[in-house]
């Protein structure tokens, strides 16, 4: 924000230089602030550092009180791939994330649009229900849903429990958080755009797919990004539904089980932990702006 928001009707003010004592005080405050920031930054980065160091140790060293690996065992990362089916876990995670995100975007956009830009009688009540669904812990519905998937599987003869489908399918029928976010965003689209399209003879559906979808690209990108992240990190529901079928474990479930499969080897466990963290961090650096914008969007519009 510029330092000269001059109200109308006054002559332009020139700011005089603050006296030396004030300048010195401000300088000291800035130095203190930076010192604190640097200390905090070190504290925040330290865990990463130690995890990396441990990932490069031998197993016995990891159990000892040495902090620095001696020698550097780079092949731990290769060993992780031999000890556990990391690639299969990654494939499962990708299947879950991609299919869920796809369904989520396709199903949430129309709902958000109907809640934002169409006027109908139950609109506010429906939005309230979406908000309530947002606040509900998943544990409230998890038992009957598990029963439902089990019974459905027995009836049809397809094993839903033990597959990724109970995780993917609900996303194709709308997701409360995405609906909420998109609706907030749609509210900010000026009426003029939509009216212009209507005058040109566009039906509502066409407006949605052409004008609105294009205008809402940043919001849709943010929603897709969040959904991808959420499904990548998801643990509780995947544990429940794929827990007994190791061939369908996503990365997080596999990582949590990594120790019991292969008798805690902390060096390999830390190496595996790093491998699981890496894709997300890489994605962040590639799409930094979309990340920060998306997060800000949720907070400011929320």
């Amino acid at each position: 924000m510029s330092s000269a928001t001059v109200p109308l009707g006054t002559r332009s003010l020139t700011r005089r230089r603050p006296p030396a004592s004030v300048r010195r005080q401000r300088f000291l405050v800035a130095v203190a602030n930076h010192a604190l920031l640097i200390a905090a930054a070190i504290a925040f980065l330290a865990p990463f550092g130690f995890i990396v160091l441990t990932a490069l140790m031998t197993n016995d060293q990891a159990l000892s009180s040495h902090l620095w690996p001696h020698p550097f065992r780079w092949q731990n990362f290769a060993d992780v791939f031999h000890q556990a089916p990391i690639l299969r876990w990654t494939l499962n995670t990708m299947i879950y994330s991609v299919l869920a995100t796809l369904g989520l975007v396709i199903s949430s956009v129309p709902v958000a649009y109907a809640l934002a830009r169409l006027h109908w009688r139950g609109r506010n009540a429906a939005f309230l229900i979406v908000l309530i669904a947002l606040m509900l812990p998943p544990q409230v519905t998890v038992v009957p849903l598990y029963v439902m998937w089990t019974k459905l599987g027995q009836a049809i003869g397809f094993h839903f429990v033990g597959s990724l489908w109970p995780l993917i399918i609900p996303n194709w029928l709308g997701d409360a958080f995405s609906i909420f976010l998109l609706r907030q965003f749609f509210l900010t689209i000026p009426d003029e755009y939509l009216d212009a399209a209507r005058v040109d003879g566009c039906g509502e559906l066409r407006i949605l797919t052409t004008v609105v979808a294009r205008l809402a690209k940043p919001a849709i990108a943010a929603v897709a990004l969040f959904s991808f992240l959420y499904t990548f990190n998801d643990f509780f529901l995947p544990l429940l539904y794929t827990g007994e079928n190791p061939s369908r474990w996503p990365l997080q479930v596999g990582l949590a089980q990594f120790r019991s499969l292969h008798q805690v080897q902390w060096n390999l466990t830390m190496a595996a932990t790093l491998l699981v963290m890496a894709p997300v961090i890489a994605l962040f650096f590639l799409a930094q702006r979309a990340f920060i914008e998306g997060v800000t969007l949720t907070g400011v519009k929320g």
């Binding site: 197993n59 159990l63 991609v98 299919l99 396709i106 094993h159 429990v161 990724l164 827990g243």
Partner: protein, 444 residues
């Protein structure tokens, strides 16, 4: 418009392809090849022990070329229950938790084997009495024992010699005295511990105290199925002994010591690398030591017993692996043939016992010529057959009551319980209420 529909179509096609890929993948996994019948067997073993099991199964496979037997390891009870619930169950399943038989038999999750036993004239007399107890619930027999476990004392002979101890302790007071002599410390930090009685440490010290109960003659339930930990004096004796030893080391010193130890089933097992002088463990440890630290100078003996009952020396805790057929399976007859062979065939049991050093679970296989003698392993066979050895009671609530006992014992050893008697009275009430609420009263 065209661009949007275009990219949308592309995304949908990608999604459909992925979806097809997975569905086909999982459907293929369940398909049976036209000629052979596939039998899936789930077991709890992993790594080396799993390989031994697969070797035993291979012998059966050779005799039955029409079958294709698939063995899956690292199974636990949660996976078993979930699989049976979702209709995804294998043909044969086995569990390390014999106490779960209350749930498996009580709910019909594992099918009743009695018709098959009668049809094939399988005599139950060949199984030792304790194994018969933990493979049935309220008269329904849904499991058979597949090798058994007994718990005894492992002691490091080198450390014994250094401390001037000539023979393993026979009573708990001897155990305590020896443990104190064998412990090496530098300041507060424990370097070598004589005997670690910490509840939840390794496999010897289950928090529900089932491994120590026979050594004190302690009973969990009376004949009516009510919990009696408060009224049976043996429990207080056991708990007070345990806490006094923990307090000798210092509770947080023990916790710190344990946090830096290697995993129980790895080559850095604390006993195997000499950080623990005496340890209660199951008979399988003999095979692990042979594979990982063959030069370790150690001995085995029965666990010491309560000073007041010296004649009980030689007894120990006993349980075992159970094997059964889950409901909803397709190839029950072939599954039963495999189960019968695994549990009654002398060659199978002897070969398996040699490989993973578990106790043979039938009388005849216990005398089989194929068994490789091992004096340190023979201790455990004797413990298994000792008349005072006992196993944990089974209820229809599965292992939930064990969790309740465990909650109490870990609090007790941390010094959080003010009055032991009052605490046990409360614990008894909790157990009774749990059994009443969740089905199946306690079985003595």
């Amino acid at each position: 418009m065209r661009r949007v529909t275009g990219s949308l179509l592309a995304a949908l096609v990608l999604g459909a392809v992925l979806a097809a890929a997975i569905t086909m993948g999982s459907a293929h996994a369940g398909a049976r090849s036209a000629k052979k019948t596939t039998l899936t067997v789930w077991v709890g073993w992993s790594a080396r022990e799993l390989r031994v099991f697969k070797g035993v199964v291979a012998d059966y496979q050779k005799k039955h070329p029409e079958l294709n037997i698939k063995v899956v390891g690292s199974i636990n009870d949660t996976k078993i229950t979930n699989a049976i619930r979702s209709g995804n169950a294998p043909d044969v399943v086995s569990s390390f938790t014999s106490s779960m038989v209350g749930v498996y038999c009580g709910t019909g999750a594992w099918i009743n084997l009695q018709p098959y036993l009668s049809k094939d004239h399988v005599s139950l007399n060949q199984f030792p009495k304790t194994t018969l107890y933990y493979t049935q619930f309220k008269g329904k027999r849904c499991a058979l024992p597949l090798l058994a476990d007994s718990y005894g004392l492992y002691y490091n002979k080198t450390l014994f010699a250094k401390a001037g101890i000539s023979s393993p302790p026979k009573t708990f007071s001897e155990l305590t005295a020896d443990a104190k002599k064998l412990t090496q410390r530098s300041g507060n930090k424990i370097k070598v511990i004589g005997y670690d009685p910490y509840w939840n440490f390794y496999s010897g010290n289950f928090t529900d105290m089932t491994n120590y109960a026979p050594l004190f003659g302690a009973q969990y339930y009376d004949s009516k199925g009510k919990a009696v930990l408060a009224s049976r004096y043996a429990w207080s004796k056991l708990l007070r002994w345990q806490k006094s030893l923990i307090d000798y080391y210092g509770y947080s010193n023990v916790v710190r010591f344990q946090a830096g130890l290697g995993d129980e089933f790895s080559a850095s097992n604390a006993f195997e690398i000499g950080k623990i002088a005496m340890m209660m463990d199951g008979e399988w440890r003999v095979a692990f030591i042979k594979a990982e630290h063959p030069t370790l100078n150690y001995g085995t003996a029965p666990m010491p017993v309560d000073d007041a009952h010296k004649s009980w020396y030689g007894a120990g805790a006993v349980n075992g692996t159970i094997i059964g057929i889950p409901k909803g399976g397709h190839n029950v007859d072939q599954a039963w043939e495999l189960v019968r062979w695994l549990t009654t065939n002398d060659h199978a049991l002897a070969k398996f016992s040699n490989g993973i050093r578990n106790v043979p679970s039938t009388r005849s296989s216990g005398h089989s010529k194929e068994l490789k003698p091992d004096p340190r392993f023979a201790t455990f066979v004797r413990i298994f057959n000792n008349p005072h050895s006992a196993t944990a009671p089974i209820t229809g609530a599965g292992s939930a009551w064990n969790t309740l006992v465990g909650r109490f014992t870990v609090k007790w050893q941390a010094g959080k319980v003010k009055s032991l008697h009052k605490g046990l009275v409360t614990l008894d009430k909790q157990i009774d209420k749990l059994n009443a609420q969740q089905g199946g009263g306690g079985v003595p």
